[in-house]
Symmetry: C2
Subunit: 354 residues, 2 copies
């Protein structure tokens, strides 16, 4: 194991991420402008096509096969009553994903995306299942209102496992990696990560998550403030370790893994967005590979997107997570790539003038 210290410089060195080569952009724009359509008439799909070309570093990027990783983990902070749901719902939802009966299964099926479920840190023994990837870092994080959620070693392991899972999917033929999560209590961790890494005032990062009554929201705000007061950590690996969770760190690793392999990483909502933020703070060039799928209704997400300079593709008031918004964006990526690869040039179509 290499010396990995968790600080920005060392972690950045460990990730072999090249920024995209923007010198290809004029050729991509020219190719799109030469297509059989008025210049600019496909708006943001044209911009997306350019991004996909830059990510793949070619004029004919293939973006067909899409894999969604749903990273699941539990949070010790739920002991403070931060969620309306009991922590056991995380494991119950993992079983629902495996049974193909969750919202994200329905959406992924509608968008032709393969779902892989990852036990990043669920606080229960999950049954063996052919679709379940066991990558458990620990059985739920520690309560970050009282102590660090994870050790730095656990955090490092989570980052690496996220990277390795993505590398494996790409070896198997995935053109695009889609990233979602499940973890009761994880909007609290995401808020703390955003607070430290955006950075942004803590209260601007806290929302009602899966839905909270007034007393529940007060408990959540109080627990988050106690966690923030406990540590001054600001480097990305330390922030992930302090606040968790296993699934957020593993998502950050997945983003970095997609960037290493020059594949688009489609980021779901607020929690996946916080993971992408951590990835970008670990290796700034990773941002070039992130496609932000949608603007979540969760408070904090719009600001998080602004921090990253991201304009998401969809704005549908989603706030479920699981990857539901991310998979809905996949057909837009496919359409954008096909604009480059499948559409005739105007010169082939226009009636010739003698």
């Amino acid at each position: 194991m290499s010396a990995w210290r968790g600080d920005l410089a060392a972690a950045d060195e460990a990730w072999r991420i090249q920024p995209v080569d923007r010198s290809l952009e004029p050729a991509l724009r020219a190719r799109i402008d030469g297509k059989a359509k008025p210049p600019g008439s496909l708006g943001r799909i044209e911009d997306l096509a350019v991004r996909l070309g830059l990510i793949r570093n070619r004029l004919d990027p293939k973006v067909e096969s899409a894999v969604l990783f749903v990273f699941a983990g539990d949070h010790g902070l739920t002991a403070e009553g931060v969620s309306r749901y009991p922590a056991s719902v995380t494991a119950a939802m993992v079983e629902t994903f495996l049974a193909g009966r969750a919202s994200v299964n329905a959406f992924a099926s509608a968008a032709n995306v393969e779902v892989r479920v990852v036990d990043a840190g669920v606080a229960a023994d999950l049954p063996l299942h052919p679709k379940l990837v066991s990558a458990k870092i620990r059985a739920g994080t520690r309560n970050c209102a009282r102590e660090p959620a994870m050790t730095l070693t656990e955090t490092q392991d989570a980052l690496r496992r996220g990277r390795d899972l993505v590398a494996g999917a790409i070896r198997d033929g995935a053109d695009v990696i889609t990233i979602g999560e499940m973890g009761i209590g994880n909007t609290a961790s995401a808020a703390l990560i955003m607070h430290r890494l955006a950075p942004a005032p803590l209260d601007a990062c806290i929302g009602s998550g899966a839905g909270q009554d007034e007393a529940g929201l007060r408990r959540k705000i109080d627990a988050i403030h106690r966690a923030a007061a406990r540590t001054a950590a600001t480097t990305p690996a330390e922030v992930l370790a302090e606040f968790g969770g296993c699934e957020i760190a593993m998502m950050a690793g997945a983003v970095l893994g997609a960037a290493e392999q020059r594949r688009p990483a489609v980021i779901d909502g607020f929690i996946a967005g916080a993971a992408a933020l951590a990835a970008v703070r670990l290796a700034p060039a990773a941002l070039d590979y992130c496609v932000f799928a949608h603007r979540s209704a969760e408070r904090g997400h719009a600001r998080l997107l602004q921090t990253l300079g991201a304009e998401p593709l969809l704005d549908l008031g989603l706030r479920l997570g699981e990857g539901t918004g991310a998979v809905l964006a996949v057909p837009l990526l496919r359409a954008a790539a096909r604009l480059l690869t499948d559409v005739a040039d105007l010169s082939d179509v226009l009636p010739r003038t003698p």
Copy 2:
């Protein structure tokens, strides 16, 4: 042929369109709220699921098989220089659709939508092709700056053929009808239709279409104003006849046909939107069946959507037409329907409390 006079009351009678039965909405909402997810957490997809349930009048609507009709027609008004492209581009693009090499083919393939191309009124003899539906009303409309674009009989034929094509697709198994178009010069007709039927000030309805320089835009505005000054028509059939085109009237018929058959009609951009407006003015209940796919960058479209009380699903700066925006919305419809049909109830998922 029945006595069909082209006025609102008579035309409305001819269309057997029932408004949706809103008494089903509470049961649809309850079904969605009972799913294994926080209530309301799928935002506009939940609203879309309710609409699909109402359209199909059932709690388990099936929305899988989607057909896009691309209605093509030429416009006599192009003689006034309203477009940057020659009218012959309409026929050239029809051949590109048939070859599977236009933007909409690429997008439809990405969204798993079947494309059917309809010659509604192209000003050229098109080759026989298994994917080309010949429904030609006339070889291009007359120049509406000088005379009515179509007769009322031609308009009536176009409406009926649009309806019949949709009825046939639904008999063949289509769950959702997607509506797009191709016709050099047709943003001018759409502007005139919107002006009379919204109604809205003429200049608020005129945009640069496929892209125009300043002189071209002045010619377009002038020609549109002459067409508007020529006739005071305000009933929907007369407005369609006066301003054309064949493809817009046939799209209006397609919308009405989908509504008659209680299937969702997914409306593309500005021109398809003007056709939907005409359909809704012919039979107001048709609005219940329209799903507006996206907000086009064409000037006038945002106001047209407001007139119809529609909030589109996507906002991607598209202004191409062909159905490109409509097909991109189809996966959202599929996801919404599958939320109702495929997702487990929370009560099946939550750990039982004794």
